[in-house]
C-alpha cells in the first residue's frame, strides 16, 4: 500500500463524518436485513455462522475503509476540478 499523504484536521473530520455515516448505514443494513437470519445460524450451523461472523466484522472494518478512501479521493478530485 503506498503511503498516503497525511490529512489535515479538516480532511480528517470529513473522513470521520463520512465513515460514521457509512458504518451506521452498514450496521442498520445488517440489523434490518440479516439480524434474524444470523441469530438462527448461530444456533443451527456453527461453521457457517463462524464464516458469516468473520465476514461481517472484516467487511465492516476493511470494506468500509476502502469505500471511504475512494469516496474521499473522488471528492478531492471533484473539488480540485471545480
Amino acid at each position: 500500500m503506498p503511503r498516503r499523504p497525511q490529512p489535515s484536521v479538516r480532511e480528517l473530520m470529513v473522513e470521520l463524518a463520512l465513515y460514521a455515516v457509512l458504518v451506521v448505514g452498514y450496521l442498520s443494513g445488517v440489523l434490518l436485513l440479516i439480524d434474524d437470519r444470523v441469530a438462527e445460524l448461530a444456533v443451527e450451523t456453527g461453521v457457517l455462522y463462524a464464516v458469516v461472523a468473520l465476514a461481517l466484522i472484516v467487511g465492516q472494518g476493511f470494506l468500509l475503509d476502502i469505500v471511504v478512501e475512494n469516496l474521499l479521493r473522488f471528492v478531492r478530485s471533484w473539488m480540485n476540478g471545480r
Binding site: R3, V23, V38, A39, Y49
Partner: protein, 305 residues
Amino acid sequence: MDFAISGEVIHPAYLVTVGFVIGALGGFFGVGGSFLAGPALFAVGVPMNYVVGTDMAHITGKSIVAARHHRALGNVDIKLGLLMVIGTVIGVEVGAQAIEALERRGNVEVPVGISFTVILLAVSALIAWESWRTIRQGRALRAPKPPTLVDITSLSHVTRKVHAIRIPPMISLPASGIPAISLWVILGVALVGGVFAGFLGGGAGYVRMPMLVYLIGAPTHVAVGTDLFEIVISAGYGTFTHALKGNVDIIIALVMHTGAAIGAQIGVQLTRHFSGPRIRLAFVPLPLIGAAVVIYKLLTGTEVG
C-alpha cells in the same frame, strides 16, 4: 436493544462508547484492549463465554481499521508481524497448556498470578523510568519527527546486546530499520507475549509492544502499527474458533465497532503528534491495568479479558 444471539439487552450507546474508547487506545498504543472490553461487557451481564468471543470479534474489526491507517503512515512491518504470529500462536498454546498442567499438580494459580503481577509492575516501572529519562535528557526533542525508522531509547544498549545474538538464520527488517536480527529472537519475543496472552486472555499487547521496542529495536510507531497488524491475524483466528464454539455475539461486536472504528482512526492520527518516548510514557498505565486484571482474577476466580 435486544441481542438475540447472547440473549442480552444492552443500550447501544454504551457499546458504541466502550468501543470508541478502546478504539482510540488501540490506535494510539497498538493494543487490542481486551483488558477494558472484557470487564465492560461482563459489567452489563454478558455471559463470560460470550465476553471472550465477542471481544475477539470486535478487536479484529478495530485492529483492521487501525492497522490500515498505520500502514498508510508507514508504521507497519509486515515481515516482522507475520513472523511474530508464529511465535504468538505457539506461545498462547504453551501458556494455556502450562497453566493446565500446573493446575493438575495443584493450586498454582496464586504463585503464577503473583509472578505475572510482579512482571507487569516491573514492565510498567521500566517503561516509566526509561521514557521519563529519555524525555528529561532532551533526546526526544532532537529525535526526528515521525514517521521515522529512528527512535531513541535509554535502553539502546539492551537492544544492541539482543542484536549481537547471531544464532542463524539472521534476517533483515528494512521496514523497522534493522539490518540483521536472529529469527529466534523474534520468535522468542512473540512466544513470551503469547504465553502472557495464554494465561491472561486477550492479546497481551501491553507486554508485546514494549518488547518490540526495547528488545527487537523497532521504532515505537512501527511497534504500535506492527502489533496491530499481528492482532488482526491472531484475533481473526480467535474470532473464527470462538464462533465455531458459539461464543460470539457478532451483532454486539458490530455495534461496538461503530464506535471503535472512529476511535481507532483518531488514535492513529494522534501518534503523528507524539514522539516515541512520549507514546511510551503514556503507555505506562496499561501494564498496570493488566496487573489489576490478574489480581481481580486471583481474588474472584473470574476471567475479565
